[in-house]
Each structure stands twice: as structure tokens, then as C-alpha cells.
């Protein structure tokens, strides 16, 4: 590995780690919010360097075309969320929902989460990746329970137990992968490193790989939030602080998905093993349709969008399960667009809940009149997430649907059915919240809107014109995914 790249990838893990210690030692919450923001910004800048340096691997970290996409996306959203989080936390301190001690802890956990996610994405071996995903789970559990209300503790506990079972199953799968690789690659690290695993995959025992993949899919799939292992997700999104809902939906689900994709590539490389596609397609469609139905009966605004995340992770898993250059391209694009849009929605939802003093959809009315900036951001966000043109998600969903029609017309029926169901549900809820006679505001909030605008304008830009080098970049990755 060239020394530049080595330094950059170390910085991506190191900056958040150092920042986590720094904010833990800093008692003043405004200053720790600034440290949090600067560290996230610096991490994002380093991630951008990855775009120009030639990918290579070596040491305990490695960089290739696939994980660059994830790293750039997650450090960008990590940065904008830290900007949003600063104003959100200000308000929570003023209203006394959080104490300065809570916030100190919250910032330390936020940076630890960034560190763990970058480590999971950049880890060169399957064991280290597992440890990083486990640490990421722990830090988010602690943040979800930070309000200490019975509901928040219940949500954190549920997330903790289900997440632990998920990563336990993933570990069993990881051990099985090692056992499949060990006769070919010999004992030691080589049998756990992605690069050697990928190059020797055709010689591994296929039956062992099959069993391993089932465990990995169920284990990491729990963390992706795929049905029927999704039970933790709505609670964790609804009860934790809103910046964490944005990070969970926008980043952590992607990290788990990244793990699934890596193992899918491993199985695809071995001709005798099962094709992992159908399993992903089934889980994806199940999540999509289940979540679409559930959207109709939601009464809590954050829960509503949490179910929408399950729905979209289902679409993404479906697209990657279909495989092939076009569906993979659509999956990658959809993942990027969903992360940007959903975190923007959560940014507005967080401030809306602060202004209205409630998360109940029934008590939120006429936002576009009383809070034009927040209201219209929510409208644009929801219009984007249900896949209306000219926004980015329309394009990615269109690609998913059209590539499905071209190859498996029968599968397109449940897919389109699920999409339309979700479309109707979200539109129904949106009209109630955004228009009509406004409900009374409970408080004022100094909203920082530019993270929302930044995300939404990126989504709009992608819908109107996708720059050609982004297209070639995604096409390369799609080809890599097989």
C-alpha cells in the first residue's frame, strides 16, 4: 500500500477515535459540538482524497472501488448530521430534555460510531469487520436510550437484544467462511482477508459457503432491517434523538448492507455455491410489502419514516439480489439517494417535533403555513422519497423496475405493488401534516436548514443530471459486484 493511501485510510479511522476522546474530556457542550463538527468535516475531506488516490490494499485496512462509495457517502452524511445535531442539541438542552453530561456522552458516542463505521467499511478482513459492526451497534444502543424514558429504554433494550442475536449469527457465518477457506489458504490471517478470499473463492467448499451465507444474510440482514428481523428498527428510530435516527437510516443500515454485499460477491465467485440472489430478492420483497402495509397505520411521525427506511432497504436488497450491471447500478444509486433523502427528512422531522412538542402525526397540521421552511422541506423530502420525478429516487426506482421488467417480469408485479402502496400511504400522511389549518406551535426553534437543503439539492441534481464521471464510477462498482 502506498504511504499516502495508508495515511488517508488510517486518518478515516483515527480522526473520529481521537475526537471521541477529546469530546469525552470537554465539559462545555457548545465546544464539544464544534469539535464534533470539525472532526466529522475533516473525516469527510480525507474521504474525498480517496477519490483521487489509486485504490490499493495492505495492512488491516484496504480500499477498493466498492467501499469508496460507502465511505464517501457515510462521511458526508456524518458531517451534515453533526451540523444539524449542533442545533438540535442546543434546543434539547434549553428545554431540559438532555443534560450537559448526557450531551458529552452523546458526542463521544457519535464519534465512536463514525470510527466504527469507517473501520467496518475499510477493514481488510472479515473478523475485524465483524468487531467494528459490533462496536457500532453498541454505540447506537447507548445513544437510542439516552432520553432515559421508559419508552426509550424499551427501544434500546429491544434493539440491543435483537442486534446482539444478529451479530452473533453473523459471527457464526464468519467462522464458517474461515473454515471453508482454511483448507485452501492455510491457517492464519490469509483465510480471513478479503483479497485472498476473493482470489481463491472458486476452490472453497461450496456447501460450507452456502451454510455460511445463510447465517451471514440473517445476521447482517437483521442490522439492515430486512423483514422479518426488522422489529428493532422502528422503535430505535422513534425513541432516540433525531440525529441518530438520521444516522441509523442513512449510514448504519448501509454498513450492514455493505457486509452482505461483500459476502455475496464471495459466493458469486464460487460457481458451485448457491446463487445468493434469490434469498436477497425474497427478503427484499418481503420487507418492501410488509413495510408498505405498515405505513398506513402509523401514528408517530418518526416511526412512519422508519418503516419507509425498511421499505427502501427492501428495494435496495432486491436490486442487488437481481444482480447484473444495470440492477446493481440502480441499487447503488438508490442506496445513495435514499441515504441523502431520508436523513434530510429526519433533519426536518426532528425540528418539526421540537416545534410542535409532539411526534404524533394527528397533532401536526398545516406545516407549510406555520413553518414554511420546515414544512416545504418535508414536502420536498417526501415527494422525493415516494419516487416522484424529477428527483433522484424516481430515477433509481425507475431503473430497478425497468431492469426487473426486462429480466423477470413476474417479480416486477409485487415490486410495483409495494411501491404504489407505499406511495399512497406517505402521500396520505403528508397532506395531513403539510396542508390545512395549522396546529398550535409549542416552542420556537433555531433550525439549521442548510444540511436539509444540501441533501435535497443533491437529490434534485441527481434526478435532473447525473455527471458522467459519477455514472462511470458507479458502473465500475456495479461491474465489480457481479
Amino acid at each position: 500500500m502506498s504511504s499516502d493511501l495508508f495515511m488517508v485510510s488510517n486518518a478515516l479511522v483515527g480522526i473520529p477515535a481521537v475526537a471521541a476522546i477529546a469530546v469525552a474530556l470537554e465539559p462545555a457542550y457548545r465546544r464539544s459540538a464544534i469539535i464534533n463538527l470539525c472532526a466529522s468535516g475533516a473525516t469527510f475531506l480525507f474521504a474525498l482524497v480517496l477519490l483521487v488516490v489509486e485504490p490499493e490494499s495492505g495492512g488491516y485496512l484496504f480500499v477498493d472501488d466498492l467501499n469508496i462509495v460507502f465511505v464517501v457517502l457515510s462521511t458526508f452524511i456524518g458531517f451534515t448530521t453533526s451540523v444539524y445535531s449542533a442545533s438540535y442539541i442546543d434546543h434539547e438542552i434549553e428545554t431540559g430534555r438532555l443534560t450537559t453530561r448526557n450531551v458529552r456522552f452523546y458526542h463521544a458516542m457519535y464519534q465512536s460510531l463514525m470510527c466504527a463505521m469507517n473501520l467496518a467499511l475499510l477493514a481488510s478482513n472479515i473478523g475485524l469487520m465483524w468487531v467494528a459492526v459490533e462496536v457500532a451497534t453498541l454505540t447506537t444502543v447507548l445513544m437510542v436510550g439516552i432520553y432515559r424514558t421508559p419508552h426509550a429504554l424499551e427501544a434500546a433494550w429491544k434493539y440491543f437484544i435483537l442486534g446482539s442475536v444478529g451479530i452473533a449469527l453473523a459471527l457464526f457465518g464468519t467462522i464458517l467462511i474461515y473454515m471453508a477457506a482454511e483448507p485452501v489458504l492455510g491457517q492464519g490471517y490469509d483465510a480471513m482477508v478479503w483479497k485472498t478470499l476473493m482470489s481463491q473463492a472458486p476452490q472453497f467448499n461450496p456447501r460450507m459457503l452456502n451454510v455460511a451465507f445463510v447465517f451471514l444474510m440473517l445476521g447482517y440482514g437483521t442490522k439492515v432491517g430486512l423483514a422479518p428481523m426488522h422489529a428493532w428498527l422502528p422503535d430505535a428510530h422513534a425513541e432516540g434523538p433525531t440525529p441518530i435516527s438520521a444516522v441509523l437510516s442513512g449510514l448504519l443500515l448501509n454498513v450492514a448492507l455493505y457486509a452482505v454485499l461483500r459476502f455475496k460477491m464471495l459466493l458469486t465467485a464460487n460457481a458451485a455455491a448457491i446463487t445468493p440472489g434469490p434469498l436477497m430478492i425474497t427478503l427484499g420483497l418481503a420487507s418492501l410489502i410488509m413495510a408498505a402495509f405498515m405505513l398506513y397505520r402509523r401514528g408517530d411521525i418518526k416511526r412512519l419514516f422508519a418503516y419507509s427506511s425498511i421499505e427502501h432497504m427492501g428495494i435496495i436488497a432486491f436490486a442487488f439480489g437481481m444482480g447484473g450491471p444495470l440492477a446493481n447500478f440502480a441499487g447503488l444509486l438508490h442506496m445513495t439517494m435514499h441515504s441523502l433523502t431520508k436523513s434530510a427528512i429526519f433533519f426536518s422531522v426532528g425540528h418539526i417535533a421540537q416545534v410542535k412538542g409532539t411526534q404524533k402525526i394527528a397533532d401536526i397540521r398545516g406545516l407549510t403555513q406555520s413553518q414554511p421552511a420546515l414544512g416545504w422541506s418535508l414536502v420536498v423530502g417526501v415527494v422525493a422519497i415516494i419516487g416522484l420525478p424529477p428527483l433522484g429516487i424516481f430515477m433509481s426506482e425507475f431503473l430497478v423496475v425497468s431492469s426487473t421488467f426486462a429480466r423477470q417480469p413476474l417479480l416486477a408485479i409485487p415490486l410495483v405493488f409495494g411501491l404504489l402502496l407505499a406511495f399512497g400511504a406517505l402521500l396520505l400522511r403528508l397532506t395531513g401534516m403539510a396542508f390545512g389549518e395549522p396546529s398550535r406551535d409549542q416552542g420556537e426553534v433555531k433550525a439549521s436548514m442548510w444540511p436539509v437543503y444540501a441533501h435535497l439539492s443533491l437529490v434534485l441534481l441527481a434526478g435532473i443530471y447525473l455527471p458522467s464521471h459519477v455514472v462511470t464510477w458507479f458502473q465500475n462498482v456495479a461491474r465489480l459486484l457481479g
Binding site: 473478523g127 459490533e134 457464526f172 416511526r303
Partner: protein
Amino acid sequence: MELLTIDIAHVLAGALVLTSFMLLYQDRMSGLINIYTLHAIILSLSVAWQAYYQDAPHLYFTACIAAIFKALIIPFSLRSIMKRLRIHRTVEVVGGVGITMLIGIFLVALSLVVMLPATASADPLSREDIAFALAIVLLGLLMMVTRRNVVSQVIGFMSLENGLVLAAAGANGMPLVVEISVAFSILIAFIVIGIFLFRIRERFDNVDLSELDRVRGGRS
């Protein structure tokens, strides 16, 4: 000599499966903790035997973690938590022991059927260890599903985790076993601290999870 070594490893792994069965039907809290302690001791012996057989000194460290952390500290803290929460004499209603045991037997058979053909070419030692480990993992999941009490669910999870450590130790020369077992111990420590800190009894008056469901009432 070779055969004897393998037999000892299998006896230890088999004993672990049997102890998992004992966890399934135990209805007294104190009894549950005692059996979990036994589970952890057998695990540590089994890992130590693997360390000796594979000549892998780092596995002794994992065995020590199992012995000290899981067989001493965890049972001790669980007991003191239960005393504070005044649930140490609780007898839990475990419904359908017969059916649970039958499902358990079915799960063990399933793991043998799945794992043995898949690992036909592997080392005979790790081959059967991994099948037993899968059985322990599945039995742990079964226990988590059939129990309603938080503490028994956590014990179910910890027995599941013991199965994973057995699998990791049994995989010939697998690196990072120590790191993984440390990471898992931290997770378990958090869970145990969680039971205590969240003081589920205080908030919900009971450690029964059906009470948690009641709290959800009225929300969607």
C-alpha cells in the same frame, strides 16, 4: 492417542450441548445461574483442550476469559442483581417443557444433518465441534424465544455466545479469536449492566417482558 484426544474434545462439546438442554427446562432463577456457570466451566475446559491439541497458546487466554469472566464474575453479578431486585427465588412458568425438549432434539439433529456433510473434508476435530456449536447456538435461540423473563433470555443469549466461542476455538488456527471473545465479553458485560442500570423492575414493576408489551399499548 490421537483418537483419545479427539474423543475428549467431543465429550466436552457434547457435555456443553447437554447443559444447554438443562437450561431449557430449568425454571428456578438460582438453578438457571448455576447451570450457566457449569456451561461456562465446560466451555473453558473445552477451549483449553483445543489450545492444547492445536498447540495454540492464545486459546488459553480465551479459556481464561471464559473461566474468570463467565464462570465467576457474570454469575456473581447476576446473583447480586437478582437479590437487589428481589427475584432470586422466583420460579418461572416454563410452558410446554415436553414440546420445547422435542424441538431442541430436532434442532440438534438439524445441525448435525446440515453441518456434517458440509464439513466432510475438514479436520475431524473441528468438524464435529462446529456441528455441536451450531446445536448450542440454536438451543440458545430456542431458549430466548420460549422464555418471557429478561434474565432467562439473557442467559439464553450467553449460552448461545458460548457456542460461538466453541466454534471459533474449534476452527483450526483461526486468528482474532481472542479479540472476538473479548469483544463479545464487552457486549455481555453491557447486557448485564443494562439489566441492572435500566432497573426494569423499578420501571415496570416486574422483569416479565409481557409487561414491556403493555407499555407499548396505545402507540403505533
